[in-house]
């Protein structure tokens, strides 16, 4: 695995890759890392989703990768454009943690679980199955997706590395 094949994805960002490419996003807290994979074509994509719904957006030009409800269709479209079949796509999710524990806790404190719920809802609307997930908890995650195999390796400070 050479670094040349590594594509880094920032916060509220997305990208796609083919074959030996690795897609990576670091420091997922309450954000959700969504991966979509077409095994037959070995095409995959990743989005670093920050907020559950674009309805709350007040920005001029919408960053589609930022919101669960807009990131899912956009990522599917981008994968389709490079040859993936949307009907074959399967999803994996990581992140959506609750980094800080507060007694009571307002709605914004529950942002992690809400990001996960909203992403799943958007996937269900497009009939894309979630085949694996590592969500929730109270810790950060860095994820790396192998576009060939669709395997996602997840690294965290307390729990080391695991694959889904």
């Amino acid at each position: 695995m050479t670094e040349a094949n590594l594509i880094k994805i920032g916060m509220a960002d997305m990208n796609v890759g083919i074959g030996g490419t690795l897609l990576r996003t670091t420091g997922l807290g309450s954000c959700v890392g969504l991966t979509l994979h077409d095994a037959e074509r070995q095409i995959a994509g990743m989005a670093h989703i920050m907020l559950p719904s674009s309805e709350i957006a007040r920005e001029g030009k919408l960053n589609l990768a930022k919101y669960a409800d807009t990131a899912v269709p956009e990522l599917i479209d981008r994968l389709a454009r490079i040859g993936a079949d949307p009907r074959r796509l399967v999803a994996k999710l990581a992140g959506g943690a609750q980094m800080f524990a507060f007694a009571g806790g307002s709605d914004s404190m529950r942002i992690g679980p809400r990001n996960v719920e909203s992403t799943k809802h958007a996937l269900a609307l497009r009939s894309i199955p979630v085949i694996a997930e590592d969500t929730g908890g109270n810790y950060g995650r860095t994820i790396e997706l192998d576009c060939r195999s669709g395997i996602v390796s997840i690294r965290s400070v307390q729990h080391g590395v695991k694959e889904i």
Partner: protein
């Protein structure tokens, strides 16, 4: 942000002064706690892309100790007190005589002590700010996390998230005596709070 379309430099200067006064008060509190001099750098005020916020403390994957609290009241926002694990060890040693493990597996007592330190410092930061502006500001109960900087700080960016892909950060660095370790105070006022801060300080909007 539209707020900064006019007199941006002057407004940044005002925010720098806000950070200076708040963090100055907090540095004094820390110095009293430790009974040692604590130096402070001039605050940096920047509108930064989300990605670059974590770079201020070593990158998205750097493990840091973070005490987070929300400031509520007239001008809400998020506040972080961020220290490295190395400095956390010095703090615990200096304050309580506890020899914390270097690997960062903290006991309940240690976490609670750190949270309290964060509480005291953030409280002095905020009370200086409240005195300066005459605004009502009240901190929530603090919460602590030891984790990747990116994962922790993204939590303070949610309010900015709906507005765009940048956040305005008031970052003050603490230099703790001869030990070459530093700590950071991050103040990230909610986007809507700037107008209130500026009005309270008599800055023309």
């Amino acid at each position: 942000m539209n707020m900064f379309s006019q007199d941006a430099d002057f407004k940044m200067d005002v925010l720098r002064e806000v950070g200076n006064i708040g963090a100055g008060n907090a540095a004094t509190a820390l110095s009293r706690l430790l009974d040692k001099p604590v130096d402070m750098a001039v605050p940096k005020v920047n509108l930064l892309p989300f990605e670059r916020i974590a770079e201020q403390v070593g990158g998205s994957e750097a493990v840091i100790v973070a005490i987070f609290l929300r400031m509520e009241g007239d001008a809400p926002g998020n506040m972080f007190f961020l220290i490295s694990r190395e400095q956390t060890r010095h703090l615990l040693q200096g304050l309580l005589g506890i020899d914390a493990a270097a690997d960062g597996d903290y006991s309940e007592l240690e976490l609670s002590a750190l949270c309290e330190i964060g509480n005291i410092l953030a409280g002095s930061y905020l009370s200086a700010l409240a005195d300066l502006t005459g605004l009502y500001m009240s901190p929530t109960v603090p919460s602590i996390a030891v984790d990747m900087a990116g994962a922790i700080l993204s939590y303070g960016l949610l309010q900015f998230g709906t507005m765009g892909d940048d956040a305005l950060l008031i970052d003050t660095t603490f230099l703790h005596g001869s030990q070459e370790s530093e700590g950071h105070f991050f103040l990230i006022p909610d986007p809507d709070s700037f107008e209130k801060l500026f009005r309270a300080l008599g800055v023309p909007i």
